[in-house]
């Protein structure tokens, strides 16, 4: 029952609830989000009453935000959808970065090819991790620890092999050394704006993949594994095969972000691309936004990355961004484990707009 004070806001909520249950709701919301993201760089320039967004937010910050939104979306396919919590996605990120930079530096092979090579390597490494861990039925935090060890293993291996650049890593070659000059083909640009649209295109691709998986039979199997693996196996879902597929897909796409990283920044070192913190930066937006949702990782990254960047810039202390990460991790897990996407519903519950708090028809945002 709507309360007597049934304000117009309450009506808005009920409309929204209805809309959210439509099958076209998520694609439409995603369309709006991507529409905003396409014009966002132009909005930075617009000045309203002498105040422009560009004074607080730089294009570089937006690019980094999109990188982590992208990786969180990739991570989500394996960990959010399938429930195989990876704490070692830096392995795939780093393989993408190294595959790209090694081939372009040593053999002048186009970075786009390098990116695909890195992505295939990452998928293979993911399969190796998956086969070893799933064969012995490592689950929960056993699995999380194992993935972390596999990421750290790569870091130390590359640190110790001179031919792979050792601890000092690689400096990105100039575009003229392997292509006609900066441009899309060279994966290097003279300004930030094209980089922004490249990573936005990546995000669009992985979001589409995640959305299609979510709404397919394959996705249903993954969610079944997440909810109850034994029950899923009992009804005949080949869980081993599906878990491996999820790992491989997730690793493949995560490597793209590494490749982008290598071509966007000037240098890469094993201690930066395989860093312990990279594992966290990859998964944090998905956790903050909403585990297992398609919109969550994008929303999450637009909360996490600008917040930590702004905190670091305004306090001017190194480490402030990591304190922001830490606080977000603790607070979200303690108080809102379903993430930001569940907030409209929680707000409605709080203000008594729901017909009943346990209303079964209520939108469960985590299923979008």
């Amino acid at each position: 029952m709507s309360s007597e004070t049934g304000s117009s806001l309450s009506t808005v909520w009920h409309r929204y609830k209805q809309f959210r249950n439509e099958s076209y709701a998520t694609p439409l919301l995603l369309g709006i989000i991507f529409g905003i993201l396409i014009v966002l760089p132009a909005l930075l320039e617009v000045s309203i009453a002498g105040y422009s967004l560009g004074t607080r937010v730089s294009l570089g910050m937006l690019i980094v935000t999109l990188v982590w939104a992208y990786t969180a979306q990739s991570w989500n396919i394996m960990s959010g959808f399938t429930g195989q919590f990876s704490f070692g996605h830096a392995a795939f990120f780093g393989l993408g970065a190294y595959g790209t930079i090694l081939l372009v530096s040593n053999y002048s092979i186009n970075p786009w090819i390098g990116m695909l090579v890195g992505a295939v390597l990452a998928a293979l490494y993911g399969l190796l991790i998956g086969v070893l861990c799933f064969r012995y039925d490592l689950r929960g935090h056993y699995f999380a620890l194992a993935t972390l060890a596999f990421a750290e293993l790569l870091r130390f291996i590359i640190n110790n092999i001179g031919a792979l650049g050792g601890a000092s890593g690689f400096i990105k070659p100039l575009p003229r050394e392997y292509a006609d000059g900066p441009g899309l083909l060279a994966f290097q640009f003279s300004t930030d704006l094209p980089y922004y649209y490249v990573i936005l295109a990546f995000l669009l691709i992985v979001t589409t993949v995640a959305f299609v998986i979510r709404n397919s039979r394959f996705g249903l199997y993954l969610f079944a594994i997440r909810e109850d693996e034994n029950a899923a196996a009992a009804v005949g879902i080949p869980t081993f095969k599906y878990k491996l597929s999820a790992v491989a897909i997730s690793a493949f796409f995560t490597a793209w972000a590494g490749a982008f990283w290598a071509m966007y920044f000037d240098t890469i070192r094993p201690d930066t691309v395989f860093d312990l913190l990279i594992n966290v930066e990859i998964l944090l937006p998905a956790i903050v936004g909403g585990l297992g949702t398609v919109i969550g990782p994008i929303l999450g990254s637009f909360i996490v990355t600008p917040l930590s960047e702004i905190a670091r810039q305004s306090l001017d202390l190194p480490g402030t961004d990591r304190i922001v990460y830490g606080l977000l991790l603790v607070l979200i897990v303690l108080y809102s484990p379903k993430g930001v996407v569940s907030w409209p519903k929680r707000l409605a519950d709080l203000l008594g707009w729901q017909d009943s708090p346990t209303d079964e028809d209520a939108v469960d945002e985590t299923h979008n």
């Binding site: 110790n160 956790i287 190194p318 606080l327 603790v330």
Partner: protein, 314 residues
């Protein structure tokens, strides 16, 4: 050791010691025996670190990512008190251990206890968040510059084997702590309750053990063990806010190696990794020993995923 004589060593605390790993100051008289002593020492410290970690894991089924940060916190507590008072850091080690016990209880109360029933990953994420907050706060408060205890230590030598005094103290501390912990767990009622809870949580509840209270105690003790190991490490090397990372990662390898939740396994695993690291650092280039440590880890996962001394698997 037959007769010990104090020898003045030209430089102490940091000869050739890198900030990220326990370094072995190599002197002319270095022999296999010397390496063995160092390995025993490092193994003891690793055992301490892993004991706290595996205890929290075994009893509460929580992977504590803040363990390394708690070590670092203890280092800075001892260092600050010692610098402020001018007294030797050794006096402040017990204070740091008690303080860390309190910090552990607080962390458990505010972050772990409310979500004990949540999925396993949630606790892992929360402790990682606590780690980031602790380490970055320490970094802001004390700067990232490497530091060392203000203590003048010579070295003890016998038959051509030299043991820097700091290493000797650290060895004594870790062996004492390991034995003390062992006696507590095996011989006291409370220790038995902790082991019982680790063995079978619901069973422990049925026989009247207050497992909530055991959780608090376990997390506090785990933190205190991390604190003791942390406070002892600067006796053998310089430290900075990030030094906990490498100990933490290796401690994870050790607890898996020994069997998650197995107390003797943690000690055995600590010794194995201590030996691999000390001999690997001496005979292999760069940080190849670290690659070996992870290879061992993967082999154990493959061949004996329940760990060397672990019996039960969940």
């Amino acid at each position: 050791m037959v007769s010990t004589s104090i020898l003045a060593v030209s430089s102490h605390l940091s000869p050739g010691i890198v900030a990220t790993a326990v370094g072995v100051p190599l002197q002319s008289g270095t022999t296999i025996v010397q390496l063995l002593v160092f390995a025993l020492l490092l193994g003891g410290i690793y055992g301490l670190v892993a004991l706290g970690l595996t205890m929290i894991f075994g009893v509460m089924d929580v992977i504590n990512f803040a363990h390394g940060a708690l070590m670092v916190l203890a280092m800075y507590i001892v260092w600050s008190l010692s610098s402020a008072s001018g007294l030797t850091p050794l006096v402040f080690i017990p204070i740091a251990v008690v303080a860390l016990f309190g910090v552990g209880i607080l962390i458990h109360h505010f972050t772990i206890a409310p979500i004990m029933e949540a999925p396993q990953e949630n606790q892992l994420i929360v402790t990682f968040g606590v780690m980031l907050i602790l380490i970055s706060s320490i970094e802001i408060a004390f700067s990232p510059n490497p530091r060392s205890y203000n203590i003048d230590l010579g070295s003890v030598g016998a038959a051509g084997v030299f043991i820097p005094e700091g290493q000797l103290y650290a060895l004594v501390i870790s062996i004492t702590a390991v034995i003390g912990m062992w006696l507590f767990l095996q011989r006291t009622q409370l220790g038995r309750a902790i082991r019982g809870t680790a063995d079978n949580r619901s069973g422990a509840k049925f026989v009247g053990i207050n497992i909530k209270r055991i959780d608090y105690l376990t997390f506090g003790l785990g933190a205190a063990l991390a604190g003791l190991a942390g406070a002892a490490i600067p006796l053998i090397q310089r430290f900075d806010p990030y030094i906990g990372d490498v100990y933490l990662i290796n401690a994870f390898v050790i607890v898996v190696l020994g069997g998650l939740g197995s107390f003797p396994g943690a000690l055995l695993g600590g010794m194995i990794i201590g030996f691999v690291q000390v001999f690997g650092q001496f005979y292999l280039p760069g940080s190849v020993y670290q690659v070996m440590i992870f290879m061992i880890f993967i082999l154990v996962l493959l061949l004996r995923p329940e760990g060397l001394l672990g019996g039960k698997r969940t």
